[in-house]
Amino acid sequence: MVRHVLARLGVTAFVAVLLGFFALPMLWLATAPFDAGASIRVSVPEFTLANFRALLVNPFAVGSLVNSAVQAGGAAALVVVLAALAAYALSRVQVPGRDLLLYLLLLMSSIVTGTAAMVPIFELATRLNLIDTHLGVILVVSGGLLPAAIFILKDFTDATPASYEESARVFGASPLQILRHVVVPLIRPGLATIAVWTVANVWGGFLLQFILIRDPGLAPGSVILYTLYTEGGQPDLPLVSAFSLVYSLPVVLMYVFVSGRYGFRFHGGIKR
């Protein structure tokens, strides 16, 4: 009996320590932004909103949120449209070596946006005059995310019975009409997943944006976060913590919204 209680206590203590280890950074994000003397430690805050006020006067902080939104939104739109077209085509047309092609693309994509390819990508972007443009970031990021997006979406298009499309074809629908009227509504949960995943990826991405954008007026939040120093060359922790909180909120809200809309609901088509 005593041994049993001791064992329970041990397990509970272990789980508590483990949870604390992962919860501390979150706790820091919750307290530090409101702390007048924010440091790297978690402490009971000396409540203030001054950190957020400081954020508003920072010349780049607010603009960087807009930049992040433009880049993430642009990439999400591009990835969703291209991946939907490609996945539909790949699941309906017999191409020799189709599966091999998909796997190769998937493999390559981790190289394209990986560190190893940064120099050639920078070189390419320079020659195409894409340095310091949103378009440059959008194109490079989309290129890296597309293969995985196509791979995921193809599962959804494969699961849509061909008789739906054949039926629409007999009624005279064009391929684009079939895609718009029949296929897209049926794979909407998949499209939502891809969109959220792309936005989250771009929103949190740093290295590519850091390399492709030199002008701080065009830099996204993830890059601006890196520039928040005091005059003394130390990280400006009150500002960093406030900006971190503001910067993570949109992604959290997006998850909540999309999961509420698509997460646990399928309207009876795909699963029969």
């Binding site: 019975p161 008789s163 739906y164 054949e166 039926s167 629409a168 074809r169 007999v170 009624f171 005279g172 629908a173 064009s174 009409q177 009227h181 029949v182 509504p185 049926l186 309207h267 009876g268 088509g269 795909i270």
Partner: protein, 371 residues
Amino acid sequence: MISLRGLVKQFPGGVRAIDDLDLEIAGGEFLALLGPSGCGKTTLLRTIAGLETPTAGRVGIGGRDVTALPPGRRDVAMVFQDYALFPHMDVAANIAYPLRVKRVGRAERRARAAATADRLGLSGLLERRPAQLSGGQQQRVALARAIACRPRAFLFDEPLSNLDARLRLTARTFLKRLQRELSVTTVFVTHDQGEALALADRVAVMSGGRLAQVGTPAEVFQRPLTTFVASFIGATPMNLLPGRAEGGALLVAGARLTPPGPARGLPDGEPVTYGVRPEYADLSFEPREDGFPGRVGVVENMGTALLVTLEPAGGGDGPLVQVVVPEEGGEPALGTPAWAVPRTSRALVYREGRLLGAPVAPAPASAEPTA
């Protein structure tokens, strides 16, 4: 009207699903394409719809050569086996979808969908999604969608096969009346011979990508041109027994039979197949020279009648012959010796798988002879 000339469909794997097929379907006619699975009937229907491109031959619909036209410009409507109702659209949107493709205005679309739904007894269901409908209702929505676009021809791919047995009968009657009222040329694919006989003006029996026989339900039932058609048509399969001619009579399975008209005058020793439907034979418990001798092996009660299977008297393996007897006589005891006496006027004699005395030569016998 639909006309098919020299139609061939060969798949990349080398399989010939349709093998040099000619068929004319008159305007307003209800034609059933009947055959076992893999006989090419669905491929033929899809080729008429334009979902498959024929390897050779022409497809004509309403006097117009449509071989090169895409499905949407052939002016046909197809109902699929799984109905292919769009799950994300409600019933009204589903029915109106062909009109939406044709860019008919929203108000008129709604009105026409409502009118069609009303006609098919779906008026209370316009706002529902397909998943909220029963199988029979889904089937009628699929029909409504086909009707709403007022096509030149209906193409049905086994639309009744997903319904349960009782509902299928109701839907069958409904479908036949609907087709009569609309008098639109209809091609109906099925593997159920009863469905084909009940619905169609003409039945085309397919086997191995060719037409084994095309005729009215009465023709294919009463005078199947090949042993394949004979064994395929009929709720209970026709008895087909090997025998030979001798001295103006036929010796078949221990019986000495008077040959029916067309089979008279066969040379002695000529091998034939003697066919008689279980419904057209009588059971005798007295020895008869013109009856197949055996003993009662199995008795199946079919409600209004009994299906009696005779097994060879000397033991032997397998059933010999089946006879349908009226249920008034009571069930014969198992093992009782009995003689199955065919009615000569209803008997058919086949030589090399073909009916003797057939008016025209049927399509080459790709049919596998079935005993």
